[in-house]
Subunit: 66 residues, 6 copies
């Protein structure tokens, strides 16, 4: 169990690989989460379109706009 | 326009104030986002239950779990 | 109104695009802020030298050196 | 030498201690940086008004608003 | 499997609860990791001294000092 | 003295440069820390295999997994 308060299960819509970084888009409940992780992680986890995956975010990283 | 890739509009469900920090829960599309911000921001923005507000997250802060 | 406590208006000095990421330098009051965002955001916002833009930073991300 | 691209020397304007967290305001070139760190760090470093101190921010934490 | 590149298994040495936040110290290979999470997570996970637990850190959050 | 609570001295095992970003691996006490910083910092600091260097992490960025 991970302490991160925000863990939302969905489906990967796209994976784009750069030299060092990768951009992964996950759709959850009609929302599109954009994630920037290392290319190494994307490869090690074999992330690809259609995979079930969750977007995970530590609560200290969430801002509020009103 | 803010560069943050993740900006999700919803409704504040709760605001809890500590001495320095505040915890704000925002509901979006049935998902509950938990946000930890400064008490100063929560007061300055007058955040309260029922307010329309967005959860905003920089893409570099989003991890993937699969 | 965004909860981020640090929002400093200035001028973009440079934009460098990679495959996934972009590096943006913003000058504010003689200080140079370096920002690493997604290439997607830099393109969507059409960031370029000379634009008026603000550097925005959540307070939990600011350290102190003494 | 620290890799963080944003290191701005200034003066501490206020230090507020909570149970776990502390809020430190640093003035640099007329800008006020708000920092949220652990109370433990604020005490260990003996941070107080008038101290010369720098605000330090990793470039991946800086967003752009335009 | 979580994309975070830094996941280090160890033992909790202390848990301190504030109103909103909690400070958890985890010892791994003789190193002490200090973690600031929400009090809610510390309670929900029932974190306490002696528990086996891992410190988890996204690679974009790791700086280099040389 | 930097407020970051996690500062672990070790040795650089690898440095990989992209266009914008760089990936640096630091070994400390048998643990491998992966760091994603700007290519600019990696070059300015002349980071290379075998250098003594520390991994530095703000406590708000450390999660707990149990």
């Amino acid at each position: 169990m991970l302490s991160a308060r925000n863990q939302f299960k969905g489906t990967i819509k796209s994976v784009k690989l750069g030299q060092i970084m990768a951009e992964v888009v996950i759709e959850v409940a009609g929302l599109e989460f954009v994630s920037l992780i290392s290319r190494g992680s994307a490869e090690r986890m074999n992330l690809k379109d259609g995979d079930e995956a969750a977007a995970v975010i530590k609560a200290t990283e969430v801002m509020v706009d009103k």
